[in-house]
Amino acid sequence: MGAIGSVLSSSMLLYIVRRILWGAFLLVVVSALTFLIFTVFPSADPAALRAGRQATPELIAQIRHNLGLDKPLYVQYWLFAKGIVLHFDLGYSYQNSVSVRSQIFTRLPVTLSLTAGAFVIWMIVAIPIGVISAIRRRSLLDRATMGAALVAISAPVYFLGLVALFLFSNDIGVIHLLPGAGSYTPLSESPWRWFTSLLMPWCVLAAAFAAFYARMVRGNLIDTMGEDYIRTARAKGLSERRVVGRHGLRAALTPVVTMAGLDIGILLGGAILTETVFNIPGIGRYAYDSIINSDLPAIEGTVLFGAFFIIAANIFVDILYAFLDPRVRY
C-alpha cells in the first residue's frame, strides 16, 4: 500500500486526471467533427434513402422528422451528445432502427478476437526476426527478412487478404486449407471453428504489423547494442545471449510496447479492411456499411468508439511513461 501510495503521488494523480479530461475533450471534438463532416459536406440524404424512390416530399419530411433531422444542427448534436453522456445511448440506426450501442457491443467480441490473435502473431513473428536481424546485421538472413518485411508493409491488406483467400481458403482457394470469407464463428459456439476461421485474417492483419515491428525492433536493438552499458556488460564477461536478452532487448522493446498499445487501440476501433475482405462481422465492417448507407448514428458510434480506444490507449501509454519517467508529469 505504501509503495502504491508513493507511486501515486499528488503530481501523478493530477497528471492522470489532466490526461483523462483531455481525452474526454478530444472525444467531444471527434464527435463534433464527424457530425460536421457528415452534415455540412455533400453526402446522401438519409431520409430520402430510407423513403425510397416513389416517396413524396411530404413523406420524406415526415421521415426526416421521425429521425430528428429537421431540428437545427446544434440541437441535433446536443441531443446526440446528451444521449451519450447521460445514458450512453449512441442512438438508433437510420437504416434499420436498431440500437447502435447494441450493434457495437454485439460486434465488439469479434473485433477483439481479431485484434488479439493478430497481436499475438505479429509479436511472436516480429520480435525474433528483429532480434536476429539486429544481431546478424547485413547477413543474408537479415537482408532476406528485411526485404520480406518491406514487401509485407507495402502490400495493402485488401490485396493480401484476397490473395490469401484465393490461395488457402477451403472454398475458393487453390489449396483447400482454411475457412474462407464469411466463415467467422463465435468462440462460444465452437472454439475450434473460431480459431480456424480467424487464422487467415489474423495472419493477413498481422503481416504488415509484424514487418513494421520487426524493423522497429531491429533498429532499436542496433542502437541499444551500441550503448556504453552494453559494452560494460560485455566487459564484465556476460554471455552474448545474456547481454542481448537481459540488457539490450529490454531497452529496445520499450518503444515497441508503446507503439503496440496505440496499434491495439486503433484496431479495436475496427480493422475495416480485414473485416471487409474476410466478411467478419466486427466493428470495422459495421463502420464500412454505415458509411455506405449514410447512416449517421452508426458512423458517429463507430467513429467515437474507435476514437475512445485510441485515446484510452494513448492515456494508458502516457501514464505508463509517467511512471517510468517522472519528467513527463510536469
Binding site: A51, G52, R53, L59, I63, L162, G182, I292, N293
Partner: protein
C-alpha cells in the same frame, strides 16, 4: 424490386452490370422458364445459401421496396397477387382469384383464400381485415411506406400525407372475412399491379399495433409470416439477433402454419440462409462456383468473372440472364438553357456514342443498346407499340454517334458552324466506375460539338439525393440515372420519370424536369385506361413521344445475371430483374 431505380440497386457495392446478347437471352430465359416449370418434381429439404453484399432496405414488409428485399419477403409474405418465377404477369396469391373491376372500373373487389394462417406467435387465420390494416399502416408516419401514395393514393379516403397513427381508409372495405373492396377516385390502369406489392401482405392489427404506435415502427423486428418461410424468431416473435442480424444474415426457416394446399409455391428447401457482407463480388462469385453457396442475392458477378464463366462450358449453364425491365439514360435538364431547346437536346442525342457507353459497363454482355425506354421484355405490353427494335429516332452506324447530324441540328438551333457556343454546362456524376467512365464518354462526345462540360463527381447516392433528385440543385446533365419498374406495366416505367406533375422539390425522379403539355396529356390519358391492349398502345405512344423529345437519351436495356451453384435447381424472378425465387429453388441430393 419496386421502384428499382439503379439509385437503389447500386446501394453500396451492388451494381447489376451485366447482360447478354439477344439470342443468348432468349435461350436462357426460356431455360429458366422450363426449369421452373419442372418444379413439381424436385427434391424437398436442404438449405439454400444466398450471398449478398448489403442488407435489406427495410426488414418490415410494409416498408420494403427494393429488389433484394422482395427476394426475401416474397418467401415469407403473401401479398394479394404475386408472380411465378418465369412470369411478368401477376396471379392470385393470398387472393383466391384475380381482382374484379366494376362501377366504371372504380370499384375493385378481391376475395382471399381460406386456410392461410399467420406464423407463430399469432397463429390465427388471415382475414380481409388484416389486408386492410396492412395497407392502412403504410400511410402511418411510423411506417411511412415510400410507395403508398403512388399506388394507393387513388383509393377514396387515402391520406395525402403520412398520418399520426394508422388511418381508417373509407375506400377500403371488408364486407366479410374473405372479401376486400377498394373504392377508387378514378379508374387506375395499374391498380392490379399494385396488389402484387408487399404492402398488401396481411398484418394482424392486434399484434402489430403496439409496434406501429412507436415513433418508428418496430413491427419488422417482430413480424409474422404467411408465406412458406418465416424469419427465425423467439417465442415472443422477436427476430432481432436471432434470425435477423443486420448486415450479417437473415435466416428463413419453415413457417409451421403454412399449408401447401393454399399455395402454388413448392417451397422445396427447409431453410434459406441469406449471408450478407460479401463486398467483393469476385469472392462471392467464386464461392458460388465452388458450391459453398448457392446463388447471388443483391449484386452480380463482375464483368471479368462473367466473361470467364461464359467461356467455360462447364460453368456457362450456371449463369442466368434476365432483362431488367428498365433502361439507363442520360438526363438533360430541360428547365434551363441550353437544353430547354429541342434541337440542342436532339443534337446531343445524335452525338452520343452509345456503344462506347455500353463498353464502360462491360460491352454486349451487359445488354442491348436502348433506343427508347420500354425494354424488349415488355414485348406487346408497350414495347412493340412503341416500335420495338425498329424505333430509333437518333440512329447512327454501330450506335457510335453521328456528329454531322448533331452539327446540322445545332446549326438549326442558331449555332453557326454547328458548334455550341455558350456557358460551360454542368454534370453531376458517380465518382467511381462504371458510372464515372460513362460520364467521361458523355463529356468527350459532347466536346465534339463544342460543349465544355464541368463534371462534379460524388457517390452514387449523393448524386441522386443531393443533386439529380433536387431540381434546385440539378445540373444540366445527370449521366448516371436509370429506372427499373416496380412491376411490368409501362406506366411504372414512364409516369414518375417523365410526367410534369410528378416533378417534386425533393426526391424527384423526373430527372430531365420534362414538363411538356403534349406528353403530360398523353400520360394523363394513359393512366386511366384499364383495358390492357388500349393501355399498352397508349403507353407505347408515350414512350415514342418522350424518346423523340430527347429530354433523356436511353443507352442500354440492361440484363441482370444470376449465378447458381451446381447443387441447386435455378429459378429466377423474371418480374423482379432476375432475383432468385428461393421458394422455387431446390437443393439436389438433399
Amino acid at each position: 424490386m419496386s421502384a428499382l431505380t439503379w439509385a437503389r440497386r447500386d446501394r453500396g457495392v451492388g451494381r447489376r452490370r451485366i447482360a447478354v446478347t439477344a439470342a443468348l437471352l432468349t435461350v436462357i430465359v426460356t431455360a429458366v422458364g422450363a426449369a421452373a416449370a419442372t418444379a413439381g418434381g424436385r427434391q424437398a429439404g436442404g438449405r439454400i445459401t444466398v450471398l449478398s453484399a448489403g442488407d435489406v432496405d427495410h426488414i418490415d414488409p410494409g416498408q420494403a421496396y427494393y429488389s433484394f428485399t422482395y427476394e426475401i419477403s416474397y418467401a415469407t409474405q403473401r401479398p394479394l397477387l404475386s408472380y411465378r418465377p418465369n412470369s411478368i404477369n401477376a396471379i392470385p396469391d393470398l387472393a383466391s382469384a384475380m381482382p374484379k373491376y366494376s362501377n366504371g372500373n372504380k370499384t375493385v373487389t378481391v376475395h382471399i383464400r381460406p386456410g392461410v394462417r399467420f406464423s407463430p406467435p399469432v397463429n390465427r387465420e388471415v382475414t380481409s381485415a388484416d389486408v386492410k390494416y396492412a395497407i392502412e399502416r403504410g400511410f402511418a408516419s411510423s411506417v411511412a411506406n415510400g410507395y403508398a401514395g403512388a399506388y394507393f393514393g387513388d383509393v377514396v379516403g387515402a391520406p395525402a400525407k403520412a398520418t399520426k397513427g394508422v388511418p381508417d381508409i373509407k375506400g377500403i372495405r371488408t364486407p366479410n372475412k374473405r372479401t376486400i373492396v377498394f373504392e377508387l377516385k378514378r379508374p387506375d390502369g395499374i391498380f392490379t399491379g399494385s396488389l402484387g406489392l408487399l404492402m398488401t401482405a396481411p398484418v394482424p392489427r392486434e399484434y402489430a399495433t403496439k409496434y406501429d404506435s412507436e415513433t418508428t415502427s418496430t413491427y419488422g423486428m417482430h413480424q409474422v409470416s404467411t408465406g412458406p418461410y418465416m424469419i427465425r424468431n423467439d417465442a415472443s416473435g422477436n427476430i432481432n439477433g436471432i434470425g435477423y442480424k443486420p448486415g450479417q444474415l437473415i435466416d428463413l426457416v419453415r413457417n409451421p402454419n403454412w399449408s401447401a394446399k393454399t399455395s402454388w409455391r413448392p417451397a422445396h428447401a427447409d431453410e434459406v440462409l441469406f449471408k450478407e457482407g460479401y463486398q467483393d463480388p469476385t469472392v462471392m462469385t467464386r464461392t458460388i462456383l465452388s458450391g459453398s453457396a448457392d446463388v447471388n442475392g443483391d449484386s452480380p458477378p463482375p464483368p471479368a468473372e462473367l466473361r470467364s464463366i461464359m467461356s467455360d462450358s462447364s460453368e456457362r449453364g450456371q449463369l442466368h440472364f434476365t432483362p431488367s425491365g428498365g433502361s439507363r439514360y442520360i438526363a438533360l435538364n430541360t428547365s434551363k438553357p441550353p437544353f430547354d431547346k429541342l434541337q440542342v437536346r436532339q443534337a446531343v442525342a445524335y452525338v452520343l456514342d452509345r456503344n462506347a457507353m455500353r463498353l464502360t459497363r462491360g460491352g454486349a454482355i451487359d445488354g442491348r443498346i436502348a433506343t427508347h425506354f420500354l425494354d424488349p421484355s415488355f414485348k406487346n405490353q408497350g414495347f412493340a407499340q412503341a416500335g420495338g427494335l425498329g424505333f430509333d429516332p437518333f440512329p447512327s452506324a454501330g450506335f457510335r454517334g453521328n456528329v454531322a447530324k448533331a452539327k446540322a441540328l445545332l446549326r438549326k438551333a442558331g449555332f453557326a458552324n454547328g458548334m455550341y457556343k455558350g456557358p460551360q454546362v454542368t454534370m453531376v456524376a458517380d465518382n467511381s466506375p462504371p458510372g464515372s467512365n460513362t460520364a467521361q464518354v458523355v463529356a468527350a462526345d459532347m466536346a465534339k460539338i463544342g460543349f465544355d462540360v464541368k463534371t462534379i463527381s460524388v457517390t452514387h447516392s449523393t448524386m441522386y439525393t443531393k443533386y439529380c433528385n433536387v431540381p434546385k440543385n440539378e445540373p444540366n446533365i445527370c449521366p448516371n440515372v436509370g429506372w427499373l419498374p416496380d412491376f411490368h406495366e409501362p406506366q411504372a416505367v414512364l409516369n414518375v420519370t417523365f410526367a410534369g406533375n410528378r416533378i417534386t422539390p425533393v426526391n424527384n425522379s423526373n430527372w430531365p424536369l420534362l414538363n411538356d403539355p403534349r406528353i403530360n396529356a398523353a400520360i394523363a390519358r394513359a393512366t386511366t385506361i384499364v383495358a390492357p391492349n388500349a393501355r399498352w398502345a397508349a403507353w407505347g405512344k408515350v414512350d415514342k413521344m418522350v424518346t423523340q423529345s430527347a429530354a433523356a437519351v436511353p443507352w442500354i436495356w440492361e440484363n441482370f445475371p444470376t449465378l447458381y451453384s451446381k447443387h441447386v435447381t435455378p429459378a429466377s424472378e423474371l418480374w423482379n430483374s432476375g432475383a432468385p425465387d428461393v421458394t422455387f429453388m431446390s437443393v439436389s441430393g438433399s
